[in-house]
């Protein structure tokens, strides 16, 4: 699971008012090289919850993202490659996503988060 996916997911358990961002429990992180596509990054930047991405990156062992970011920074290739690395190259291979309110763990195995809810959570 890349942090782009993490940035889009939340816990939808019945009764949870804000299930975002999910806390990451790391067992195994791998890095996969991905070709940098500036157009895609510029497209997706406004949709990313920046704080959640910075926090998630830190949990995964990448602390180089600035606390704040705006559209102007996208012109810097240094920033772009850091953003790219955090968003698309860090993979949570094994671990879990934890609901911030209930503590329910959504397991991540072989890089696939399992977001399906139990019967009593629907």
């Amino acid at each position: 699971m890349r942090l782009l996916t993490h940035n889009m997911l939340s816990s939808k358990i019945k009764g949870v008012s804000n299930g975002f961002p999910l806390r990451i429990e790391v067992e195994k992180v791998i890095e996969k090289q991905v070709e940098l596509n500036p157009d895609f990054l510029k497209n997706i930047f406004p949709k990313v919850d920046w704080k959640a991405l910075v926090e998630a990156g830190r949990t995964m062992g990448f602390a180089e993202l600035p606390e704040e970011a705006d559209l102007l920074m996208l012109d810097s290739s240094e920033f772009l490659s850091k953003f790219h690395h955090a968003l698309l190259e860090l993979h949570l291979e094994e671990g879990a996503l934890v609901c911030p309110e209930t503590g329910r763990k959504f397991p991540v195995n072989k890089g696939i988060p399992n977001m399906l809810l139990h019967e009593d959570e629907v």
Partner: protein, 474 residues
């Protein structure tokens, strides 16, 4: 400028929408404003059409990207006989012809026909008959700069799979571009590592990607990803792909470390999906406030004929037959939640709701919708949503009982709570009107139940309208 557009004679309903979609992508045209003309006396299902496009570059881009355009040509002349063709070519402006006939250029002439075979000898004679065109260049059969095509239909009265020909037509033109169908054998399912029972065939997946205007850098989502067969076509065009499925074995495990969704992308050297997850389309896990992120959503929803949909919650639980079940704490980690059947109506409603929220304005939703062929055609037979405009529908006949229709919808308005409510009411109306065909399992039984001899003699409106020659592969 008008171009002669010759199609492969297959998937007839899909031909024009594909060109129109690509005209939007490469020429900035509105789909509905693309102008078409038929050659005189040709049936609408004829492979020969004329299309008006802004420039040769646009025409070339469309043809090369498409899967159903055999060739796009600058027409130099046409006629019902070779005498008429000669006159027509001679009348075509010299300044349009001479640049392609110059002495330093190389060229090739191909003779082609629709509905009949022309022997090699006859082809040669026909080419020699073109000596009135002042070709100065050198012939190069392998890699010519200019490709000319001489195409003719069958003779008067012949029945070449279409209604009988009224008059023979002969066309002569310069090729501008054509589909690269070598893509299809490269991506064909029989050589793909990981397949499921409902994997989308490569040609159709490319058509869907074209309908969705997929290009490099766009984010494309498939909520019923399965083995990834639709996203592979999107990734071929450079899109970032994301997929979800309710069956974790399909997305996570596949058939082993070298036979899963990831390996399918690796097999073709495509970039991996940016996200694969297990999620329920009925209860999508997207964070509140997240909207307008996907450029396109392309999918083949489970319509309960070859594979049925599932959603969270037990069957008995949802009916209220059993009390809500609480998972004991010690069993929570490995608990496998029960699922219930997911009817097509609900599935499509959820799909439209999700798409209305998650697609960018102008983004496209492309999906298949099943239709029973003996079901009366009515105006509102396809699901609607206030945020969307239906821009294309193309039928593919699957059996004598049912077909599937590829629907292309464009998001035209933003998603709000009021719209969501409006859509819900519209959905209930739709469900009411189509109760018979949408009931749980009824599509499956209509497709597979043994035929009733008394019923089969009755009028079959949908079938009667469709021509007989339109078999499974056309």
């Amino acid at each position: 400028m008008w171009y002669l557009c010759v199609f492969y004679h297959r998937l007839l309903d899909y031909r024009k929408p594909e060109v129109e979609s690509l005209a939007e992508l490469y020429g900035g045209l509105q789909m509905s404003t693309v102008e078409w003309k038929l050659p005189q006396d040709h049936h609408p299902d004829s492979p020969f059409h004329f299309v008006n496009l802004p420039s040769e570059d646009v025409a070339r881009s469309i043809a090369n990207r498409s899967i159903l355009v055999k060739g796009m040509y600058e027409l130099w002349g046409q006629g019902n006989s070779y005498e008429e063709l000669e006159e027509s070519i001679k009348n075509y402006p010299e300044d349009r012809k001479l640049p392609y006939l110059a002495c330093e250029s190389t060229f090739k002439i191909t003779v082609d026909s629709f509905g009949k075979v022309i022997s090699f000898q006859e082809q040669n004679d026909r080419i020699k008959g073109l000596s009135y065109i002042p070709f100065q260049g050198r012939v190069d059969l392998k890699n010519p700069e200019n490709k000319f095509w001489l195409m003719e239909t069958d003779d008067h009265g012949a029945n070449n799979g279409l209604p009988p020909i009224v008059k023979r037509t002969v066309f002569f033109g310069r090729e501008i571009g054509g589909a690269d169908r070598k893509r299809i054998p490269t991506y064909q399912l029989k050589s793909r590592m990981y397949l499921g029972p409902t994997a989308m065939d490569a040609e159709m997946a490319f058509l869907m990607a074209n309908q969705a205007l997929v290009t490099s850098g766009k984010l494309v989502y498939d909520p019923f990803v399965g083995t990834g067969s639709i996203l592979i076509a999107a990734a071929h065009f450079g899109a970032m792909t994301m997929g979800a499925d309710i069956d974790i074995r399909v997305v996570r495990d596949g058939r082993g470390p070298d036979c899963n969704v990831w390996s399918n992308f690796k097999q073709y050297g495509l970039s991996m999906p940016v996200g694969l997850l297990r999620a329920d389309n009925n209860l999508p896990p997207w964070r509140p406030g997240l909207k307008e992120v996907f450029d396109a959503i392309i999918c083949d929803p489970p319509y309960g004929v070859r594979a049925g949909g599932r959603k969270s919650g037990g069957r008995k639980l949802l009916k209220g037959a059993v009390a809500p079940y609480t998972v004991p704490d010690d069993k929570r980690t490995d608990h496998i939640p029960s699922t219930a059947p997911y009817s097509l109506a609900e599935c499509v409603h959820d799909l439209l709701d999700l798409s209305a929220k998650m697609l960018i304005l102008g983004g496209r939703l492309v999906y298949f919708y099943p239709v029973l062929r003996d079901y009366d055609i009515v105006e509102d037979m396809f699901p609607e949503h206030p945020c969307f405009k239906l821009v294309a529908k193309s039928e593919q006949i699957l059996s004598s009982r049912y077909s599937r229709v590829l629907l292309t919808m464009v998001k035209t308005g933003p998603y709000t709570d009021e719209i969501a409510e409006l859509a819900r009411i519209k959905h209930l109306e739709f469900k009411e009107n189509h109760l018979k065909s949408l009931e749980d399992g009824s599509l499956h039984s209509s497709v597979f139940s043994p035929s009733d001899p008394q019923l089969s003699t009755g009028p079959k409106s949908w079938k009667d309208i469709k021509q007989k020659y339109r078999g499974k592969y056309v």
